[in-house]
């Protein structure tokens, strides 16, 4: 299991290759990569703040819950912080399981929990100003299905 909270960029393709390499026990690998997007127009960069210490613990707990819930051969979580330019990967999850259902569900579970239970805060810096991204009721609702 790999969990990385980092400021620097990562290569999602290389991470997925390394994660997939030499696995003979799994029939399914699912990966998700989140990218900095221009929601409102004029985005210059995204700034991601986090709570060092709690971030790593929170992600480890979320990962343990996913492993307890599904039969996973392995999982991967990478989440960046700091200043991220438009189009750059923010984060990535990957799951490996015998069957696709477990791999898909576990990846979605990880994403839903990382969104509202891992201490990250996104700020959008645009050409006209900056503002903190607000959590939505949908983010919280997403947890209730689990």
């Amino acid at each position: 299991m790999k969990i990385s909270v980092q400021e620097g960029p990562f290569d999602a393709g290389a991470e997925l290759d390394a994660f997939s390499h030499g696995r003979h026990e799994v029939g399914a690998i699912v990966s998700f990569t989140g990218i900095v997007r221009d929601r409102a127009g004029g985005l210059v960069r995204m700034e991601i703040e986090h709570y060092p210490g709690m971030t790593e613990k929170a992600i480890a707990e979320i990962a343990e819950q996913a492993k307890a819930r599904w039969q996973l051969a392995d999982l991967l979580v990478i989440h960046r912080h700091g200043a991220l330019p438009l189009g750059q990967p923010i984060m990535m999850v990957a799951t490996a399981a015998a069957h696709r259902r477990a791999a898909f569900d576990a990846a979605e579970y990880l994403m839903d929990y990382l969104k509202s239970r891992a201490p990250f805060w996104k700020k959008e810096v645009t050409r006209t100003g900056e503002h903190w991204v607000e959590a939505t009721p949908e983010d919280e609702d997403a947890l209730s299905r689990w």
Binding site: M91, M111, F120, K122, E134, D139
Partner: protein, 82 residues
């Protein structure tokens, strides 16, 4: 003594990321009340605690939680990871 840390707009509104506070507050809500009474910037940051989350020693908690034995309290808006 307790370490109090702030993140995102709570940090910006208060104007500092962390401070050490001498307090007799028994619960998080008591501490919030005490901070609100300090200065306008604290009153502004803590105006609506339903818009805030709290962590005690890096575990998510509630505003009615007891502060006994707690070393670090963190206040922040709902998280927006992923």
């Amino acid at each position: 003594m307790i370490d109090v840390v702030y993140f995102a707009w709570v940090r910006e509104r208060i104007g500092l990321p962390r401070e050490r506070i001498e307090t007799e507050a028994a619960t998080v809500a008591d501490l919030v009340e005490e901070l609100r009474g300090r200065e306008e910037r604290y009153a502004a940051a803590f105006a609506d605690t339903s818009a805030l989350r709290v962590a005690l020693d890096q575990e998510l908690s509630e505003f009615d939680a007891d502060l006994a034995g707690v070393r670090e309290v963190a206040f922040f808006p709902p998280m927006t990871g992923g």
